[in-house]
Amino acid sequence: MTQVPMLEIKNLHATVADQEILKGINLSINPGEVHAIMGPNGSGKSTLAQVLAGRESYQVTAGEVLYQGKNLLELPPEERAVAGIFLAFQYPVEIPGVGNLYFLRTALNAIRRRRGLEELDPMDFLALAKERMKRVELDQSFMNRSVNEGFSGGEKKRNEVFQLAVLEPKLAILDETDSGLDIDALRIIAKGVNSLRSKDRAMLVITHYQRLLDYIIPDRVHVMANGRIASSGGKELALELEKKGYSWIEEQQGSKAPKAGARAP
């Protein structure tokens, strides 16, 4: 039985302001899998997340991305959301004057409408939202505050996971959702994310630190360096990185020894 991957990235190249950031990414994620992408700053992790979500200031110059077997790159961002792709932003933006819950209900109903489903009325939505807020232990006072306005860094990240829990995407991309969190907030977020793991849903977890992966155990770990995936392995790869640091990967790439299994001394 051959499974259609949730996401298949083939030789993806992308530039930002004429500078090539992604230099040939290959990656395949099946439904039900959680993949982690690690790597030093500037290696292209966040660029990959933005390209997958459809940010227009990022130019794809070569390669292809298939989502459930279909060309993802031709879709505008909102159509990707309708198709089931969600990006938890590294830096969630503030939208002054727009209520947090109102925003989310409008988004959910826009997606439902495009999928030919009935819209949720405010009362049904409220019940859903309250239940999902509990998962990320987000206080109900956040419902009517403006989107991300005046939220602390940790609150913004929890709000992203709350949105993730309400929108229930097929492919969730978490871009450094752990950065700037203390250990308690990290546990809460990981708990929320883990509660969303299912055999039909894939996740791509981007992180700088191994710490998050103690709580969200990935099926696969990839290490990015200089716009490419330099190394892939099981969850033990993350621990190895923790010990040896990123310079080990960069050195390996620098010596142009791409042979499988090649190890630095």
Partner: protein
């Protein structure tokens, strides 16, 4: 692809109030002279004092210069090429609402104005001005029970000349400015409201203005007098058909809030803005001012989305001690629209307070100017003003300008001014779209959020209408 097509389609949608009603009307010949003024006055069976006032205004107007200081640009207006009076020709003399020309009734229904009393919308009493003449006032009897007078200006002149004589021109004198003086000479109708002492008006009063006939100017005059300790909330809406020639709208609104009275005046202005190339549209040159006596409060809320050019500064003269003036404004300019709008708060009394909150949105090639004057005179000890004016830019071909003037003549008063200009950021749009909102919906949501503090001041039904209007006016602003 499909989303793009939808956006295209929406962008092509035109001004939805742009229809013309095929009614017979009775008009004065084009042009302006003393004969025309006598003609208007005769048509309206006016008492002599009013004709004299009109003529005085006209003679003064001849000596005046059209102002050139506003930050707006338009070709010279030929004042002899305008029809100053146009009235729907009555099939017969009107005795009641049921006898109103069905074509006019149909027009107001198209506009969603609840003219028929049985279809009343949450108790809004409406006076409707069609071209130059007020055609119907609903709820008159119900208001009369409380002693409230709400009628067309012409009726007020006939039935309550003493009130008109006492208050007409008492806040905006006939010499005030070029357009107000022109209005004083040729105004044809408008609304009048008087709320007696201690009465709280039980419903929102509303006037709906519509320009229908071609080449017509609309010069209505509104006078609201709130007697001691009374309260009234007044709404004003406006639309016009699409025409490729500019039409002039020069109105005057005078508010008198006697001791302890409160007047809340809300406007949703949606005159035809012209097409995307700037052809046609209404020149909206309006003078609005209120006089607040001791302990009185006057509050202006405006949502300005229409007109090719908007030039208006709803103001409050804080004459009485402890009086309060407020100005809440949303002004949107899209395509080639221009707006130069703001307020004047003149503090004369002690402990007077004023609040100004202005939100300007520029899109397309629109130019949006906030111009405001806060003047605190010597005797206005302990006066306070707070001003916040924010501008939001959409795209890179539009402009936002701010001209605040602050004059404080005593040292016990405070004036605070805050201003900020922002642009809808690409990351805000991307964030919304990633969550599934179309680009148009995202812009509309961000803009509505920006205006929230002002919308909060509008009566409920108006706030909903204002939000919709804003979304419609923004169509085609992105992409």
């Amino acid at each position: 692809m499909t989303a793009n097509a939808a956006v295209q389609e929406i962008a092509k949608r035109e001004y939805e109030h742009g229809f013309v009603t095929p009614i017979e009307s009775e008009s004065a010949p084009k042009g302006l002279n003393e004969e025309i003024i006598r003609f208007i006055s005769r048509k309206k069976n006016e008492p002599d004092f009013l004709l004299e006032w009109r003529l005085k205004s006209y003679r003064h107007w001849l000596k005046m210069q059209e102002p050139s200081w506003p930050n707006v640009h338009y070709p010279p207006i030929d004042y002899q090429d305008i029809i100053y009076y146009s009235a729907p020709k009555p099939k017969k003399s009107l005795g009641s609402l049921e006898e109103l020309d069905p074509e006019i009734l149909a027009t107001y229904q198209k506009l969603g104005i609840p003219l028929e009393e049985q279809k009343r919308l949450a108790g809004v009493a409406v006076d409707a001005v069609f071209d130059s003449v007020s055609v119907a006032t609903t709820f008159k009897e119900k208001l009369a029970e409380k002693g409230i007078i709400f009628c067309s200006f012409s009726e007020a002149v006939r039935n309550h000349p003493e009130l008109v004589m006492k208050y007409l021109g008492s806040v905006v004198p006939y010499t005030d400015n070029y357009f107000a003086t022109l209005n004083s000479a040729v105004f044809s109708d408008g609304s009048f409201c008087y709320v007696p002492k201690g009465v709280r008006c039980p419903m929102e009063l509303s006037t709906y203005f519509r320009i229908n006939a071609a080449d017509t100017g609309q010069f209505e005059r509104t006078l609201i007098v709130a007697d001691e300790g009374s309260y009234v909330s007044y709404l004003e809406g406006c639309t016009a058909p699409m025409r490729d020639k500019n039409q002039l709208h020069a109105a005057v609104v005078e508010l008198v809030a006697l001791p302890g009275a409160q007047i809340k005046y809300s406007t949703v202005q949606n005159w035809y803005p012209g097409d995307s190339e700037g052809r046609g549209g209404i020149f909206n040159f309006v003078t609005k001012r209120g006089l607040a006596h001791v302990n009185a409060k006057i509050s202006w809320t405006q949502v300005e989305t229409g007109s090719a050019i908007t030039w208006k500064y709803p103001s409050v003269i804080l004459q009485g001690d402890n009086s309060i003036g407020e100005f809440y404004s949303v002004a949107l300019t899209n395509n080639r629209q221009q707006a130069d709008t703001g307020t004047k708060m003149i503090h004369l009394g002690k402990n007077t307070r004023s609040t100004i909150l202005s939100k300007g949105i520029s899109a397309g090639r629109g130019q949006n100017t906030y111009r405001g004057l806060v003047k605190i005179l010597k005797g206005a000890t302990n006066a306070r003003n707070y001003t916040q004016c924010d501008s939001l830019l959409i795209g890179s071909h539009c402009g936002a300008h701010t001209f605040p003037y602050i004059e404080v003549r005593n040292n016990s008063s405070t004036a605070e001014h805050e201003a900020c200009t922002s642009k809808i950021a690409e990351d805000q749009l991307f964030y919304c779209r990633q969550r599934g909102l179309s680009e148009e919906d995202a812009v509309s949501m961000i803009v509505n959020g920006f205006c929230k503090e002002v919308f909060r001041e509008l009566p409920m039904e108006f706030a909903v209408e204002a939000q919709k209007l804003l979304s419609v006016s923004l169509e085609g602003a992105v992409g």
